[in-house]
């Protein structure tokens, strides 16, 4: 079941996999399955955990239909040319019984007739958010409203899109090997075990339950977390952010600068002001902040920040092979955990901004 995405150039992985039994057992406990690639993210455990915890499959969605979520994720991965995530979602759809033909039709976007207007609207929303970012959010939201989505469903859909944008960047920039997962639907063993895999997948995915926020979210991104109050998504995003801030490989200021650049690049009205305020509180002079956001550099930045600020900008719109080569070039100047953390911060920043654009001005 070859896909057009398999022809997208993909460089060798820039990371070394590490065995981490505690992390592996965490993944297995959360998802019911082991992940063949989690070892690549082990040096930055917050990122590895965020990739699992933020996955909408496991207890985060209250309203949105899982199959609809899968379809939207498929087109977002396609838009982002993430061969890894695309193959993973495709394999998931196939394992659940969707025919290869139907998957290919959805990929080609040719026979819209066999998709309901609701599914079409959700897919269009996913494409729009990935292609045009927050700039296209208003129109995309209106189309969703017309198709009958209520605010809660819309927020969950936006989360599924944003999470996929995050995951796509983490796997693409690191150039995580794709072949093993691309081969899954064609391997004899998996074809024989398809019904069993289907049962396993269905057994392990579960709906979330309304979850109150235990504490008021701390900025930056407080507005965005608050917008999901009552949903299990809110504490999960807050937890992922806490993990990112606590991780020691990059300074808090460096992370904030990267996130602020992404917020500006995507014109994220929800995130950019909070990130700016956080940098001010962190002691960065207003003039320096302006200089960095306007020109992606300032003499007051330390050498690591001067490397990673322009890198953050490059993660907003990219093609896989050039961004992977860029990450490889960075690898020569950063430690492995530093590079991984930089990839994770950029990926999360991109995902959150796309989410913020939808939350900012609810329909």
């Amino acid at each position: 079941m070859a896909s057009t995405l398999e022809r997208v150039p993909w460089e060798a992985c820039v990371l070394e996999p590490h065995r981490d039994p505690a992390l592996e057992s965490y993944v297995k406990k959360r998802t019911g399955m082991s992940s063949p690639v989690i070892g690549y993210f082990a040096p930055a455990p917050w990122l590895a955990k965020a990739l699992v915890d933020l996955h909408p499959e496991y207890g985060l969605l209250l309203r949105l239909d899982h199959e609809l979520k899968d379809l939207v994720q498929l087109v977002v991965c396609q838009e982002n040319s993430c061969r890894f995530c695309y193959a993973a979602v495709r394999a998931m759809l196939w394992a659940q019984g969707m025919s290869r033909e139907r998957i290919q039709r959805i990929e080609g976007d040719l026979t819209r007739a066999d998709l309901s207007p609701r599914v079409q609207a959700a897919i269009a929303f996913g494409r729009s958010q990935s292609r045009t970012g927050p700039a296209g959010a208003r129109g995309a939201r209106e189309a969703l409203t017309k198709a009958g989505f209520d605010d809660d469903e819309m927020r969950e859909l936006a989360f599924a899109v944003a999470l996929t944008d995050f995951s796509n960047r983490a796997h693409t920039i690191a150039a995580v090997p794709t072949r093993p997962i691309e081969r899954i639907p064609d391997a004899l063993l998996t074809r024989l075990l398809r019904p069993w895999i289907n049962r396993l997948v269905r057994r392990n995915r579960y709906r979330g339950r309304a979850t109150p926020l235990q504490r008021a979210p701390a900025p930056p991104y407080a507005g965005l977390v608050q917008a999901y109050a009552g949903s299990p998504i809110a504490p999960t995003i807050a937890g992922a952010l806490d993990g990112m801030w606590a991780s020691p490989h990059l300074t808090r200021r460096c992370k904030l600068l990267m996130l602020a650049v992404i917020g500006r690049g995507l014109s994220c009205g929800a995130c950019a002001p909070e990130l700016r305020e956080a940098l001010r509180r962190d002691g960065l002079a207003e003039a320096t902040l302006d200089q960095v956001l306007t020109h992606l550099d300032a003499p007051e930045l330390d050498p690591l920040e001067r490397l990673l600020v322009p890198f953050a900008r490059e993660t907003i719109w990219y093609e896989p092979a050039p961004i992977q080569r860029r990450a490889r070039a960075l690898r020569e100047r950063l430690t492995g955990p530093q590079l991984l953390e930089a990839i994770g911060v950029a990926a999360l920043g991109n995902g959150l901004c796309r989410l913020g654009a939808v939350v900012r001005d609810p329909a």
Partner: protein, 269 residues
């Protein structure tokens, strides 16, 4: 006897039906393969279109299908336009063999396009020996002015390297004039029914071309307008040039020659 004939007839009927079914299945498989190939082709086409026009425009046209009209996707936006032109091309074109000339000019276009792409620009069109490129047209880009000037500096460096290659082959050196201006205009698909392209229409493009022509007046290779200057990083070394009148503009146009960069190393990709 009758029974044997009946059985034979049934068997023959079954055989005919089986053959027909087999033929139908093969035909269906063939059609499915064609459909898959068409789907794949369309996907590639859509991806290719996304590199030629903003993704949002492609998306709207694809979504509207047969009802799509290019006018629907037109929008006003602020873009930085870069216009580059070879100096002395006409004289050179009369001296070189057509095949050599084509190789030289293609080498020039390739190097200039690479420099533009490297800095997130989009080459809109080749006009004779000229190149028109935009920054901030395909995707929102708040750093479009810096990008355009960095691209121009990269074009200058690429031209220097290319001239070393040309000199090695005994060919004349090339030089390029580059004009950059930033301003609003109408972005969208324009053209005739037979041929359309994503373009940015308005005074901004015209002025970039006029400013490019001023490079010969001021004897410099890169000029930017006053509209760009406040947006540019302080690391760029700019020299003010005397204001000049240009066709189509009522006021004298103030320009700055870009000498290079100083101080902190500019962010590079």
């Amino acid at each position: 006897m009758t029974r044997a004939v009946l059985v034979a007839a049934v068997l023959a009927l079954v055989a005919v039906l089986a053959a027909a079914l087999y033929r139908q299945r093969r035909r269906a498989a063939g059609l499915q393969a064609q459909l898959d190939a068409a789907a794949s082709e369309l996907q590639h086409l859509q991806e290719a279109c996304s590199r030629l026009a903003p993704a949002g425009v492609v998306q709207r046209l694809v979504a509207d299908g047969a009802r799509a009209t290019p006018e629907v996707a037109a929008e006003r936006k602020v873009v930085t336009a870069l216009f580059a032109d070879l100096v002395g091309y006409t004289a050179m074109s009369e001296r070189l063999e057509p095949a050599v000339l084509a190789r030289v000019i293609n080498g020039y276009f390739q190097r200039m396009s690479d420099a533009v792409h490297e800095h997130r620009g989009h080459v809109s069109t080749f006009l004779g020996d000229g190149i028109l490129a935009y920054f901030g047209a395909l995707q929102p880009n708040p750093w479009q002015c810096d990008d355009a000037v960095r691209a121009a500096l990269a074009m200058r460096a690429a031209m220097r390297d290319y001239n070393v290659e040309l000199a090695g082959e005994g060919l004349p050196a090339l030089s390029v004039g580059i004009g950059i201006h930033r301003g609003p205009g109408l972005a969208g698909l324009v053209g005739s029914r037979e041929r359309m392209e994503y373009a940015f229409v308005g005074r901004t493009v015209n002025l970039a071309a006029r400013v490019q022509a001023l490079t010969r007046v001021h004897k410099v290779d890169i000029l930017v307008t006053e509209a760009l200057r406040p947006e540019l990083d302080g690391c760029f070394v700019l020299d003010p040039m005397p204001a000049e009148m240009v066709k189509g503009v009522d006021e004298p146009v103030v320009t700055y020659a870009v000498r290079g960069t100083q101080g902190p190393v500019a962010p590079s990709r």
